[in-house]
């Protein structure tokens, strides 16, 4: 995993709402970084299951 990927993974982990998470995903896409779908799913599960 590149440093840039690691940075986005950390940002995903820090997202506390879905809009925050979407902002990270959109930023990564613009930056040309492909996030692993499992990491995205984990981050999303953490947010929606905490409600």
């Amino acid at each position: 995993m590149t440093d840039k990927e690691k940075q986005y993974v950390e940002e995903l982990k820090n997202a506390t709402t879905l809009p925050e998470l979407k902002a990270v995903v959109d930023k990564a896409k613009k930056d040309g970084v492909k996030l692993h779908p499992a990491i995205l799913a984990q981050a999303m599960d953490r947010i929606v299951d905490k409600r």
């Binding site: 879905l18 809009p19 979407k22 996030l35 779908p37 995205l40 799913a41 999303m44 929606v48 409600r51």
Partner: protein
Amino acid sequence: MLNLSKINSLFPGQWGVPGSDAPLGIRSIPQSVTFYVDFDHPAANDANSGTDPDAPLATIQQAVDNLQHDFDQIIVRSIDPSGENVVTPISTATFSYVSIIGVGDTPYSPLWLPRVTTLPCLDLSAIGWNISGFKFGVTLNGSAIDLHFGDVDANGIAIRTIIHDNVFDGLTTGRYGIVSRGGYDNWIVNNVFQNFHNAVAGGAIPLWVGAGGLALPFHNHIIGNKFMDSDNGAVFPCNGSEIKDNVFQPVGFVYAMTLVLQSSLVATPGDDNIVWGNVFPGDYSIVGGYRGGAADIYIGNLATDVAEAEVGDNGLTILPPA
């Protein structure tokens, strides 16, 4: 609200299953509420509470608007023949794990048409909903079910959805059956997709991954579906998903498929899927309408095209199509 009279029952009654004929239905868990929709009922009215089958709601939308808890159920006996375009609120504004269950006079009824043909019958942006027992009729360029994944609203996410035992009928003019915007952990099981034919470029696609979502479908389960007599089959680029026990009919009674099964596309490559136990008639190749990702596993599918190097002499696939 109905009294909780018994637990662990089935609705409606099933022949040979004792105790399954509870005439008033049952909640799946004690704190959930069952709403009834029966457009044809003389007392149907959206001003009713909808919890009494003898005073049901007239529309599914009203039942969706009336939901009170996670795990609530909507039992649908009949639908306005003019159709309905039902829109769920986003996941933060509605409840999760809601079931919408069709219980018409036949296993695949009531018929759920779109009132506005360019819009989905069910526009789903909530978590863990379970849709079963309907016959969706799709005409023109709309879809039966649109599963959002952050494409319209960041909180609009259809994940953990279960869509099972429905018929999706394109009625010879419809374009899309299920459109996924990329949600993960969605289950599409034991459905029939048939008669999707549309004059627009590329034709109709019964199971399709639409644009705009946060990611491609991940950990989806496409199991036991039948794709019959349509312009295309499943154009479903995805990652880490399971595609098994589906039957494809590349050449149907009237229509022939250009794309039969695509678990990966050139423009949107999917990968790491496990594709096994499906029935793949016809030309098992990319030209023939089959395409997998570089690391997809296509093993043990029944294929008639034993001339391909990717198919064993016994008719079982050993590699993705090439």
